[in-house]
């Protein structure tokens, strides 16, 4: 009995050691990014590195004057517009899937999965051509529209799982009381699923904020997003590491905060609504 307990204790100790080591490996690169953003390149690349130093936050202010501010604003606009569009389209779609047996429903779901998984350049190159002609190239609106390809499927799966938690009897009794299906969605389902919709917005927003492939191809200067701005610190001769790191930290921190706010729902989001 004693030996058994000793063994369990040892396993628990090993489990903690592994978990802490994995956490260290996950966080150290981000800590290092922060260190680079607060040291001049000469100090940052000195070996051995100074562990104790006076952090220099000056680049965090300087980057705003040199175009990063516009990119930050562009990304914020893309996210706001894109998420609004996603919610308007995905909420009724998820409602339809949850409340009705739809003809060809299987194919709708397969289409969502295909749209979510097709490699970006299959639609980005044709959209580059179309956007040039329509005047949507290098615009915030153009990006917000094309981002729906991955945002709508993701949001439908997620909102669907939140709507399923609403008891069906509530919807049915609203119908008996004379509500139309649209009113039932707006007055019964939406208030109950509101926290889920908020979490969906945050997760879709994070995906849009972090998007690189499409933004790189469909923007140039006017609608340049925050990620492309970070990549832009790679000059012709050398990378401006301190500015780049400061811009990167500025771009990452809000996402970590938002993820923290939606923490309860993050697991659900990452498992596409499969798990609470």
């Amino acid at each position: 009995m004693n030996r058994h307990r000793a063994r369990t204790r040892l396993t628990t100790f090993v489990a903690y050691a592994i978990a802490l080591f994995a956490t260290f490996l996950s966080l150290f690169p981000l800590y290092w990014l922060f260190v680079i953003s607060t040291k001049t390149p000469r100090e940052a690349f000195k070996t051995p590195p100074d562990l104790i130093y006076v952090p220099d936050f000056s680049k965090y202010l300087e980057i705003w004057g040199s175009g990063f501010g516009e990119s930050f604003l562009n990304s914020a606009l893309v996210v706001l517009l894109g998420v609004a569009l996603t919610l308007l389209a995905a909420t009724p779609a998820a409602y339809a899937i949850v409340r009705f047996r739809i003809r060809g429903g299987r194919y709708v779901r397969l289409w969502l999965l295909l749209a979510y998984t097709t490699p970006e350049f299959l639609f980005v190159i044709p959209m580059y051509v179309a956007y040039q002609q329509l005047g949507l190239y290098d615009t915030v609106i153009g990006l917000a529209i094309i981002y729906q390809v991955f945002a709508i499927p993701f949001a439908v799966w997620l909102i669907e799982s939140f709507l399923r938690e609403v008891p069906q009897e509530l919807g049915d009794s609203a119908r008996v009381d004379g509500c139309s299906e649209l009113q039932t969605l707006l007055k019964v389902y939406l208030p109950l699923a509101a926290p889920g919709l908020a979490a969906t917005s945050i997760l879709v927003g994070i995906n849009m904020w972090n998007e690189v492939t499409i933004a790189l191809s469909l923007t140039f200067d006017e609608a340049r997003t925050v990620q492309i701005a970070v990549a832009g610190y790679r000059g012709y001769a050398a990378i401006r590491w301190q500015e780049m790191a400061a811009a990167a930290v500025t771009a990452v921190v809000p996402m970590i905060i938002f993820a923290g706010i939606a923490q309860r729902y993050i697991v659900k989001g990452l498992t596409f609504g499969a798990v609470k």
């Binding site: 489990a15 981000l30 409340r99 904020w209 790189l216 970590i256």
Partner: protein
Amino acid sequence: MTLFRRPAGRRVDRGSRFLVPALLILGVTSVYPTLYSIYMSVFDWNWGQRFNFVGLANYLDVLTGDRFRTALWNTIVFTVSAVSVEFVLGLGLALVLGRLGFGRGVLRTLLLIPLMVSGIIVSMIWKVMLDPTVGIVSYGLQLMGLPRMGFFGDPGMAMATIVLVDTWWQTAFVFIVLSAGLQALPTEPFEAANVDGANARQRFRYLTLPLLRPTILVVLMFRTVDCLKVFAIIFGTTGGGPMTTTESVQVLAYRVAFKQLNMSMSMTIMVVFAAFAVLVLLLYQWLLPGREREGAA
């Protein structure tokens, strides 16, 4: 007449209306460009005056040329390596975290943070950390008495380095989905196995793995299609080099379209590659039990 329409039938028809906005937007953003790509793939177009019908010549070029075959091979090597490594580590982490009591929630949240970082920022972080001369990792290797390594710049190592970067970035996805799957497993079979005297290895082999199979397949499916699409972490680190050792299909398509302006060739590449990706996806769908299909795991 409408008065006598069967309620059940009405229910079906009225539901479809709610799908219209989503399907309209997806039609414009996914169906239209796909059809356009297929149409353009039988022309020779260089974003200028040159616009000739060439039939299947582009397809012949893509399928017989070395460039696409190399890129496809690189993409497959990357996908198989990254998905395997991430799966083993993610499953291991999920099992390890499952044993913890105090602090499990906090550690789980902290482990998810890499997922909130964009591909381009991930690239930049690892580019600076793995720099052969000034990188902190090189310094660490030197302290341990290990030889200096080229990482992204070494043709023999660049692909492995990109797999390492993806592992840092995405293992948490495998970890979190499998953790959730493990927590949702029924407890009775495990109690029964305990009574029957099964050891830990037997319980894992004959209970945990088979019960977890649907979740495992969903994780592998999403990681696989995501890895096939790999772009940002290559674009941000090696750009496809040295030579073409890390050029994935999407990096190739980007170069052909935006550097060489060979639009129709790029679309042909993507039509072929998307067909390949869809086949892989359908293979996973076929392996999944009915209830778990179409992403609704």
